[in-house]
């Protein structure tokens, strides 16, 4: 499946890009890098004001009832701007869990508040270096969670967490309020992602899914968040492609623009290829939402987007030479984000295996 964006979708894409271009400021984002536990409130206020928090929430719960295609376009704009907070993706994961889980009362309780941006929700699946452990160490029993979820994205500002835990009879996906939960901040290379360890100590939680249903739902949520992230990565990679292009046109050396040297222009042309392949995969995956093809398409999108953003960060800095590695130049905002997004939602190694499993499974 592959789609052409309609006029409404294109309008949302250009509006989100325009508003972020106007409001995001490199210096503000640079300042956040050296502070633990702070995100860019201007970005998040913009997200709420523009209705991005309501995009994927069903209309019955005061949302807009839109799907991955539109959310992807907004994520692309956020990626281009190295968005100052991670909550769009994490909130989407929790939204989908509430929609697809088996607890309509919880959906009715939380979704309207999430749509309005009053509640920040995050997803805590990973443990160790594993994005979705087969038997998580965090335990769920008698309605309570115990154990540590490390380096959870958005943890330091979150009100609510979706937690992957081991129940008495198989895995569960449980929803916990974080008011009384201890959070240990992680001082990271991309601090506005608000990474923190969540220490559950008999924290009350509600089950959204358990057993095989929980496993299937966790897989699906992870794939969905990976597709949103892939769009964000495409946005970042594309921004770097044109930053590199513009610099190569203006910077002169040996009597000509450096973009006239094949070593430079071919590097940029290669970036174009990576970006367009990743974009096509991301759009395709978003359009496959809810179909049997989705898992494989999500893996394709995630792999090509991670490769595109990592390579663009590497090469754009290289093309800039010395100015590319200065603090003030700010390219390291993308360099950091390329790596933080590569790790969130599962690394390349995880998705390579996922893809091959899906492929072989199809043909088994």
């Amino acid at each position: 499946m592959s789609i052409l964006h309609d006029e409404g979708q294109l309008a949302i894409a250009s509006q989100s890009r325009r508003v972020l271009d106007a409001r995001m400021a490199k210096d503000r984002l640079l300042g956040l890098l050296e502070q633990v536990g702070r995100h860019d409130q201007v970005f998040w206020d913009t997200a709420i004001e523009q209705g991005w928090t309501a995009l994927a929430v069903p209309e019955a719960h005061e949302g807009l009832g839109l799907g991955l295609i539109v959310l992807g376009l907004v994520a692309q704009a956020a990626g281009a701007a190295t968005s100052g907070a991670p909550f769009l993706t994490t909130g989407y994961g929790v939204t989908r869990a509430l929609i697809d889980g088996a607890a309509p009362d919880l959906a009715a309780q939380w979704l309207p508040r999430m749509a309005r941006g009053e509640v920040i929700a995050v997803v805590a699946l990973a443990e160790g270096n594993c994005v979705l452990p087969a038997r998580p160490a965090v335990a769920f029993a008698d309605g309570r969670l115990t154990g540590v979820k490390p380096a959870v994205t958005g943890a330091l500002a979150a009100d609510l967490a979706l937690v992957w835990a081991s129940g008495v009879a198989g895995p569960v996906l449980a929803l916990a309020e974080l008011a009384g939960v201890a959070r240990h901040p992680v001082n990271s290379f991309d601090n506005s992602r608000l990474y923190g360890d969540l220490h559950f100590a008999g924290t009350p939680a509600h089950v959204l899914a358990q057993g095989d249903a929980a496993r299937a739902l966790a897989d699906d949520i992870l794939a969905r968040m990976a597709v949103v992230t892939a769009h964000e990565q495409v946005g970042g990679a594309e921004a770097l492609l044109y930053i590199a292009r513009d610099y190569a046109l203006t910077r002169k050396a040996f009597g000509q623009p450096i973009g006239a040297f094949q070593s430079v222009k071919h590097r940029i042309a290669e970036l174009y290829g990576l970006v367009e392949i990743a974009r096509a995969n991301a759009i395709h995956a978003a359009a496959c939402e809810g179909t049997a093809e989705f898992a494989l398409a999500a893996a394709d999108a995630r792999l090509s987007a991670t490769e595109a953003y990592d390579t663009a960060a590497r090469d754009c800095v290289q093309i800039h030479g010395g100015i590319g590695v200065t603090w003030e130049g700010g390219l390291h905002l993308h360099m950091r984000r390329a790596r933080s997004l590569a790790i969130e939602q599962g690394n390349l190694l995880f998705w390579e295996d996922r893809l091959v499993d899906a492929l072989i499974g199809d043909r088994a």
């Binding site: 789609i3 052409l4 292009r245 392949i277 995969n281 492929l359 072989i360």
Partner: protein
Amino acid sequence: MSELDMTAIEMPANDLAAGIDAWRDRARGWLGSVAGRFGREARHGLSVEDDLALGRHYLAARFDAGFAGINWPAEFGGQGLSHLHKMVFETEEMALGMPSGYFGISLGMPVPILMRHGEDRAFVKERVLRALRGEEIWCQLFSEPAGGSDLAGLRTRAEVDGNGWRLNGQKLWTSWAQYCDYGVIVVRTDPTVPKHKGLTYFWVDMKAPGVTVRPIKLAGGDSHVNEVFFDDVRLEDSQRMSPVGGGFGVAMTTLMIERYIATDSGGFGPHLDLFVDTARETEVNGRPAIEDGRVRSAIARNHAMRAGLDAITTRAMRMMQAGMEPGPEGSLNKLVSVRSRQRLSELALDLMGPAGLAFDPHAHAKEDWAASWINAPTGRIAGGADEMLLNTIAERILGLPQDYRPDKGVPFNQIPA
């Protein structure tokens, strides 16, 4: 959209969309009905001569069935449909392995240019119909020993000779020239002006006195390309298809006629399924290759790359279906897919180990790793070397500067050799 496409029937997007689905069904129906006679299985093991003969029969059948010249005007035996109709048909045709390759260049570039620029319209019409039926084949005589990527550096010359021209020189890498009846050719008619400005475009009779065709055996063993020598070959001025000195422009149109053609994200090598099969049948250090991380990584990365190229192609087709001009990203396909196929073929041969050493010179590159591997470099060079494609992306799409060109603006005969 090319001029030729403008001659196609204009129709509203919705009708076009519905029409395309019906068209695809019709194409599948007919292709399926003749696949036993002309398809991949029927061609297996044939000599090139027998395969070409089969191809000529296939083209005649295709003509009679109403699938020839799909986006050409009816007066030239065409169907008057859109470029998209053509792409849809060719995608289905390629999937069945029909023997149309011998005629791909002929009908793709020289014959459309003849339709557009040929002077004697009765002659043109007869040639076009014969080419569509596979009775005559046209080649494109562009590259030379001195000019491949640098087409305008060519040296073959035509000098005024009475009321016509006299042609001397050598062309190189001319596909299927040994089977061709006619060709289109770009030659130098004025060496005293800068290189792009002294070229003129003609058609030439490949059976004329003074034309010698010598096949060149390529590394993989096949000989579909040739060197072609011209010794005092007489050209009438009516064979000229550009203004004198205006040949480069026509040559560029030739190359730009169809930016989107039926493509293969596998780089015209094996399907990824074949690699998965190879990985399932082999071991790495006593463990199944399919469980080896390096092998899995190669599968995953190639799958993601091919899926992206396929999505680009599908999107382009949808855009055309909606009456829009597709984006330039379609130009990535050959660059990205063929070099990936080259590396994947190396890895497949590695997995096979000593068993991979066996070589069948007649094996098809889409079905055999050794054939795919040994013919891959040709794909990376023919039709635009990787480096030229990167230049095109950088310059045409991204607006980056041209390379430094010391020969720019210099009269051709004063460029240091």
